[in-house]
């Protein structure tokens, strides 16, 4: 295996026509990205932690199956709790991947190129995680298949007017398409790994997974067309999935839920939380694998602007909800919103408002947008804030409905938290396994933005040998 030809001394600042100034040629791309596949001690340690968290979650779930749903902290009328909150949270996390890979692909947003593979993988694993929660929530998971329409001896069919059945279709379609989109994009990159691989067993596996891809012009032509159409249908799919999830709430008459603002509000929130998780993952990867010259500050800056925009949309939705409650004049709605912010659930609402509305305003500063450490810290707050947003939507509504006998409290138990912890273990276990088996940055797409080698170099071909621009904003 060739040694890494070039290693930059410091992160560089890309420009519009030279997106990756420190990447000289295709060989460097292959060598540096393939080098991320070598496992390290830190990787094994993280995998062990993730699997430990997963084991705790599985143990808690087994306990719940044995003892019944009563151990999960449900108390009537609050019969949706941490599981439904976490379901919506993980579906939301899964939105940024397809947004970055599909929507930004259609808009030709160059900054997506080096981060989309990570975001796509995150999407698949987040939706896999989300799909577990309704199964856990129903208490008898072995009955889950009743939601799937198929000819059966009971002669029963699902109720197609129920938003829960809409969810089953939306989530399973989203998981299938996200996985397909990820895998189709991976085929040429797997072929690169196949051609570099020396171990015959691994080579045979990679040859099987690459489907005998040969990099012919014919293959690329059909590939590009298929990828474009997959992106085109994934775009409305992204918007539809969280809209459908929001219908789980908006179709009910419960105060705080019965509102037409929910679909766009949920979609914006999902994209916001997804970008938060992208930062949580990509910033350590960028640092540990020394990929600062691929995931440039420009890419982080652009993604941070997207986070800021969606934060503003979400903040606007929060304010509009209060306005609707006041202007609508429905007493139950007004009481609910008062109780949400100044009453029983003030602490949850203010965590949500602080993390999702106030702290992201810092991204108006270019200096902070280009500061990976701050982006990572902020992303943790965004993740926390978005989990609490779903808490604020689910619990205060159910605990403060129309009549006083319905006004109650909700306390999650250790089982809820153990299963939530297990979901993080499940998600990160898959992600950690992914980054050591397959390229975390799309090799073929990065090569597209690297200048090709030419016999007759053009006058405008950038000379990127040693010339780096300073990291300080405004100095370049």
């Amino acid at each position: 295996m060739a040694t890494i030809a070039y290693e930059p001394k410091r992160p560089n600042i890309a420009t519009a026509n030279v997106p990756l100034p420190a990447v000289r040629d295709y060989e460097q791309v292959d060598d540096e990205i393939a080098a991320t596949l070598r496992p390290s001690k830190a990787w094994f340690a993280l995998l062990l932690v993730a699997m430990g968290c997963l084991a705790i979650g599985i143990a808690a779930w087994m306990y719940q199956i044995q003892q019944g749903l009563g151990v999960a902290g449900y108390s009537p009328p609050v019969m949706w709790g941490v599981y439904i909150i976490s379901f919506v949270f993980w579906v939301g996390i899964g939105h940024a991947g397809t947004l970055i890979s599909a929507i930004l692909y259609l808009f030709r947003a160059g900054f997506r190129t080096t981060i989309y593979r990570c975001a796509e993988a995150m999407t698949v694993f987040a939706v896999m995680t989300a799909g577990l929660f309704p199964i856990i929530h129903i208490g008898r998971p072995w009955k889950f298949f009743w939601l799937i329409p198929y000819p059966n001896w009971r002669l029963l069919w699902p109720q197609f007017k129920s938003p829960l059945v809409w969810d089953v279709f939306a989530i399973s379609t989203y998981l299938t398409i996200s996985t397909t989109f990820l895998f189709v994009g991976l085929i040429p990159d797997i072929a690169v790994l196949r051609d570099r691989e020396k171990n015959p067993t691994r080579r045979a596996i990679l040859a099987f997974l690459s489907f005998g891809w040969r990099n012919t012009e014919r293959e690329w032509r059909h590939f590009a067309r298929a990828y474009l159409f997959l992106a085109a249908v994934s775009t409305p799919l992204v918007l539809s999935v969280h809209s459908v999830v929001s219908f789980d709430f908006a179709m009910a008459l419960t105060p705080g839920w019965h509102t037409t603002i929910f679909p766009p509000y949920f979609v914006a929130g999902a994209i916001f939380s997804g970008i938060g998780m992208v930062f949580t993952i990509i910033i350590p990867i960028r640092k540990w694998f020394r990929l600062q010259h691929y995931v440039t500050l420009n890419a982080l800056d652009a993604a941070a602007k997207l986070a800021l925009t969606t934060s503003l949309v979400v903040g606007c939705a929060y304010m509009v909800e209060f306005f609707i409650a006041w202007y609508g004049g429905v007493k139950a709605e007004q009481d609910y919103f008062w109780n949400r912010v100044f009453g029983q659930w003030w602490w949850a609402a203010w965590i949500m408002l602080t993390c999702n509305m106030i702290l992201p305003l810092s991204l108006f500063s270019q200096k902070l947008r280009r500061n990976p450490a701050w982006l990572w810290i902020l992303s943790i707050f965004i993740n926390i804030g978005m989990w609490f947003e779903r808490f604020v939507i689910v619990v205060p509504s159910l605990s403060h409905e129309f009549e006083p006998w319905q006004w109650t409290a909700y306390r999650p138990t250790w089982v809820d938290f153990a299963i939530l912890l297990g979901s993080f273990g499940w998600f990160f276990m898959w992600f950690l396994l992914f980054i050591k088996q397959l390229p975390v940055i799309a090799i073929a797409e990065v090569k597209e933005i690297v200048p090709p080698r030419l016999r007759h170099a053009h006058a405008h071909t950038p000379d990127t040998a040693d010339d780096f621009e300073p990291e300080t904003p405004g100095a370049h």
């Binding site: 069919w157 197609f160 570099r196 012919t216 012009e217 014919r218 059909h222 597209e448």
Partner: protein, 166 residues
């Protein structure tokens, strides 16, 4: 299958070779490139990919199935909800849309596989692992009497390695 394989380090050399091979009609040309390049598309001038038709027809079939399964099963097992019709097309648009996307996307992938001729069990002649790494390849499928001309042409445009294969 018999022909000549030219191995290029530079993009413009490969493109010039393809352009001259097209005009000299020495044989069918297959291009290997580590990443899609518009320069090759202009040089080869291939027909438009029919993959989009798979999306159209697959998507329409899926959409119809999505509506059909919801309407048929609602009539088969009638449950009155809120005094509404058994087959309510507005909520069933969700099923029409989701299955449209599902079947359309999977059909597109099937179209990709069919037209790109994958999965492929062998790499056949004319492939070199360097073509996925960073180099370009031009495979000319030609009769033995034209092989020498093809080799000369490829070398003229900067091929670093030219070899006959069968």
């Amino acid at each position: 299958m018999r022909g000549v394989l030219g191995h290029f380090k530079e993009l413009d050399g490969a493109v010039e070779a393809i352009e001259e091979l097209k005009t000299s009609r020495l044989g069918d040309v297959t291009v290997f490139t580590p990443t899609p390049r518009h320069e090759f598309e202009h040089a080869v001038q291939p027909p438009r990919s029919p993959v989009r038709m798979y999306m159209l027809f697959g998507g329409l079939a899926g959409c119809m199935f999505g509506y059909w399964i919801a309407i048929w099963s609602s009539n088969y097992w009638p449950l009155v909800v809120g005094g509404k019709a058994f087959g309510s097309w507005i909520p069933y648009t969700i099923f029409g849309f989701e299955v449209f996307v599902l079947v359309g996307a999977l059909s597109t992938v099937a179209g990709l596989f069919i037209h790109a001729r994958i999965p492929r069990l062998t790499m056949t002649v004319g492939y070199d692992p360097r073509f996925s790494h960073g180099d370009y390849g031009v495979w000319v499928e030609c009769a033995p009497d034209k092989a020498a001309s093809a080799e000369a042409l490829l070398k003229k445009h900067g091929a670093v390695e030219v070899r006959g294969e069968r």
